[in-house]
């Protein structure tokens, strides 16, 4: 990754990134948002290191339209690179300015000065000043001059406390779901069972005596509002029970593996050239699949909104407040200059969940209640049924080996529905679900293939191995059975599952060990290093263990994972008691935060891989709660040991999506090592194991 963060080009004004407060603290601004990944702590650490401060003195202001730098969206594991890179430059420039002013004040040379928790002095100098005496409450009034020649200071080796954690541990109301105002109204929507249903008949039930409740009705958009939350909940249940829905479409779509728009991919970039035929006789061919998966955020999505004096203010846990502002303006037909969207934390989202939808619904309710803040929350079933899922994938692999057992030819065809359903302004239609339901409905835009580098379906489909002329084909299927969008790691989970499962199958065919076979095909020294590190860390990939490796998007963190499994063959049950991870994320900013992201990604991927599948038929979605969509629980999670391969001289890389693919394949490879059954369909549940064993 070269070049400077693009946010600096759009927002060169130093004062927009950093303010030295009147006393004791500094405030930094970011266009990114906290989604449980610890970005506020990482950014505070970056600023603290550059400015010579205790991180607790750094306040981080997150995305707020019109105020913080516009960094579009918090996605793709880019925040440490983008916002972190920009802040580092901003703070380094601020440090140079502050030291120059301090030198003048102290009558010494700026090069002599040091800053220690805000106190500025020099060795042997009998005087000192502080960051706040020099700069407190004063704007810098400078455009950021970027310099890449300065080596950033080394991060502290010990565990840095997560800055947002004390309030959460104490049970303070820090989430959007906890927002409260004295005159606030609560709101709930009454939703059709799926995206393919609309209201047929509603005989509105009477509001119980003495309760101040309103039912808002606009086509199939239904909401209940009132000051008392539980009264709102109960009445929404009454309204829901009185609704009769009609189905306006089938939940079927075009099956993966039949028709598609196909694009050859080279170095991660699709082209519109003709698709080359598979022109070799494979020694091995295999088809891998993953089902639709849910974000399944622990908290159903929510948003608050206030319509007052012709201005709309929305508090949302959306990952892209600027995009949301513009798409709200379009869906509501309100001037976007009258709209402010302020990020407020929700539960972890892992991509595009119901957050943006909830913002529109809250705004629709607020428009009906001028001057009253409205807090709208979805139910568990609404979130499960209506969130845009991570789409199903099918990956057809084929390869031929030479006489020495090396890969001679390689083919990877990946089929999927769109991974890009986020609300984007200035496209026809709306991606906000509430807009589809109103009388003047705005339908979703038609799904279009994305042809950027390493996006969506073809993310991490390009092999990291040195292979002669890999044939990689993206096969985009526009019509899916379900609403889909971006789920953490996008196509990388399915593509790496397929590549790394297939590498194991080829290693067996070539009579090599999984580690040796991979090393035989790896030129990239950093990929080799993480593979060797994980092999060393676990004491060898032997017994019921499997290994897998990837570099996220072929441009971010390298991660290798070893899984150890226990397979109960009688019950066809797989458990994963242990995982080992080795990762290279370049220069490490916050080791503990990085490990937390790598491990959390691996646990979530273990859950996807072992248990998760959105169940549906042509009429209905059956996965509507944690019983019908089970996820990994405390008594099932692996112990994890992680080793970081630190590269202090290399740029920092995002790591939140690095382990999903490798963890999935490592588990499948371990199942094969444990019982000789190759499971190519996720989830690796009893059904899939029995089917694979019978094949």
């Amino acid at each position: 990754m070269s070049g400077l963060p693009s946010a600096l080009a759009r927002h060169p004004d130093l004062d927009q990134w950093l303010a030295v407060d009147a006393a004791d603290t500094v405030t930094v601004a970011t266009g990114k948002v906290e989604i449980g990944q610890g970005i506020t702590t990482a950014l505070a650490l970056i600023a603290a290191h550059e400015l010579g401060l205790d991180p607790r003195r750094v306040r981080v202001r997150t995305a707020h339209t019109g105020i913080t730098p516009n960094e579009f969206i918090t996605a793709g594991s880019m925040s440490v690179e983008d916002s972190g890179g920009a802040l580092r430059q901003a703070c380094a420039h601020a440090r140079r300015l502050i030291l120059a002013r301090a030198a003048e004040r102290l009558g010494t040379d700026a090069a002599e000065l040091t800053i220690e928790d805000g106190r500025i002095t020099a060795p042997g100098l009998n005087a000192s000043t502080t960051l706040w005496e020099v700069q407190g409450g004063r704007p810098f009034e400078h455009a950021i001059e970027t310099r890449t020649d300065e080596q950033p200071p080394a991060p502290p080796p010990d565990r840095q406390p997560r800055l947002d954690l004390p309030a959460k541990i104490a049970g303070e109301g820090v989430f959007v779901q906890d927002m409260t105002w004295p005159d606030m109204l609560h709101a709930r929507v009454v939703r059709p069972p799926t995206w393919a249903h609309r209201l047929d008949v509603l005989d509105e039930p009477a509001v119980p005596d003495g309760q101040d409740l309103r039912v808002l009705r606009d086509g199939s958009f239904l909401a209940v509002t009132g000051a008392d939350e539980y009264a709102v909940v109960r009445h929404a249940e009454r309204v829901a029970a009185a609704c009769r829905w009609r189905q306006v479409a089938d939940l079927d779509g075009v099956p993966l593996g039949t028709e598609s728009q196909a694009f050859p991919v080279r170095d991660g970039i699709p082209s519109i050239e003709p698709v080359p035929d598979l022109d070799f006789e494979p020694d091995l061919a295999a088809c891998y699949t993953r089902p639709h998966l849910m974000h399944a955020s622990l908290a159903p999505s929510a948003a608050a909104a206030l319509w007052a004096g012709g201005k709309l203010t929305v508090w949302s846990h959306s990952q892209g407040v600027e995009l949301l502002k513009r798409t709200l303006a379009e869906a509501l037909d309100v001037d976007r200059r009258a709209i402010t969207v302020i990020h407020h934390q929700g539960a972890g989202a892992y991509g595009h969940n119901g957050a943006d939808d909830a913002a529109l619904d809250a705004a629709l309710c607020a428009l009906e209640h001028p001057d009253r803040p409205v807090l709208l929350k979805y139910t568990r079933q609404q979130e499960h049924r209506w969130e845009p899922y991570g789409p199903a994938m099918r990956i057809d692999m084929a390869a031929a080996l030479d006489d020495a057992g090396r890969i001679r030819r390689w083919s990877h065809e990946v089929w999927s529905y769109t991974h890009a359903g986020r609300p984007i302004p200035r496209q026809p239609g709306s991606q906000l679900a509430g807009a589809w339901l109103r009388d003047n409905a705005i339908d979703p835009p038609p799904a279009e293939p994305r042809l950027g580098s390493e996006v969506g379906i073809h993310r991490s489909a390009w092999p990291i191995y040195a292979l002669p002329e890999p044939r990689v084909i993206k096969r985009f299927v526009a019509a899916g059975p379900l609403r889909t969008s971006s789920l953490r790691s996008l196509g990388a989970h399915g593509n790496v599952f397929a590549i790394e499962s297939f590498m194991d199958e080829l290693a067996a065919l070539a009579g090599k060990s999984p580690v040796a076979f991979r090393l035989d095909h790896l030129d990239d020294p950093r990929a080799r290093a993480v593979l060797e590190a994980v092999d060393d860390l676990c004491g060898g990939v032997t017994g019921p263990r499997g290994v897998a490796l990837a570099r996220y998007k072929n441009q971010q963190t390298w991660a290798a994972v070893v899984a150890e499994v226990e397979v109960d063959e009688a019950r066809a049950d797989v458990r994963v008691p242990k995982l080992w991870i080795a990762a290279d994320a370049g220069r490490v900013v916050d080791p503990d935060g990085l490990i937390n992201q790598l491990e959390g990604g691996a646990v979530q991927a273990a859950s996807w891989t072992l248990k998760e599948r959105v169940r549906f038929d042509r009429q209905d979605i059956d996965s509507e709660d944690w019983d019908s969509y089970p996820v990994l629980r405390f008594d099932e999670v692996p112990e994890i040991v992680t080793r970081l391969v630190d590269r202090p001289d290399q740029p920092s890389l995002g790591a939140g999506e690095a382990t999903q693919g490798p963890a999935a394949a490592a588990i499948a490879n371990a199942v094969f090592a444990a019982c000789g059954v190759r499971v190519r369909d996720m989830p690796l549940d009893a059904e899939a194991l029995r089917r694979a064993a019978a094949a």
Binding site: P161, D178, A299, G348, R380, S607, V631, V637, P638
Partner: protein, 157 residues
């Protein structure tokens, strides 16, 4: 009117007796730590103790809590932090933190009954609590360390 004891203080509440305790705590008593995340007793984010027993506040009618003693995450440690809160803080054992309140209430009940539970007992006790971010391994490391420290203080192996 329902009278109950919340985090050690007697509270008189003018709410319908069928209103779930979680709504009472959050909206009438200003205690937002107790989360409503499924309303189905499936995820545990709403966990509180009633007379020392773990209960799902998302479905428990407040009328059933009359004259009983309710402890929420806000009241776990009295004026300070409960040892399980301290342990999770020391290990940065969270990602988004939405599930923490319920996990802390469940863990506090476990450690109050036995300050040195085994790793298997900790896992089993926490099984009803969901975390979607994958922070479980570090929650377990934090609590296992707390249990080990307690065991060594007591001279247990």
């Amino acid at each position: 009117m329902v009278s109950l004891i919340v985090n050690g203080a007697r509270r008189e509440i003018d709410a319908p007796t069928d209103e779930p305790l979680a709504y009472v705590l959050r909206n009438r008593l200003g205690l937002p730590g107790t989360k409503v995340a499924c309303g189905l007793e499936q995820c545990g984010a709403c966990l509180v103790t009633v007379d020392g027993e773990c209960r799902y506040a998302c479905t428990l009618p407040v009328g059933e809590c009359a004259d009983r003693s309710v402890t929420t995450v806000e009241g776990l440690g009295g004026d300070g932090l409960h040892p399980v809160q301290r342990a999770l803080l020391d290990f940065n054992a969270a990602q988004c933190g939405y599930c923490l309140s319920g996990i802390l209430v469940r863990a506090a009940a476990l450690f109050d009954a036995d300050p040195a539970p085994s790793p298997a007992q900790i896992r089993e006790a926490l099984a009803p609590q969901l975390c979607r971010c994958g922070a479980q391994p570090r929650v377990l490391r934090a609590l296992e360390t707390l249990a080990r420290d307690a065991a060594s203080q007591e001279g247990r192996p």
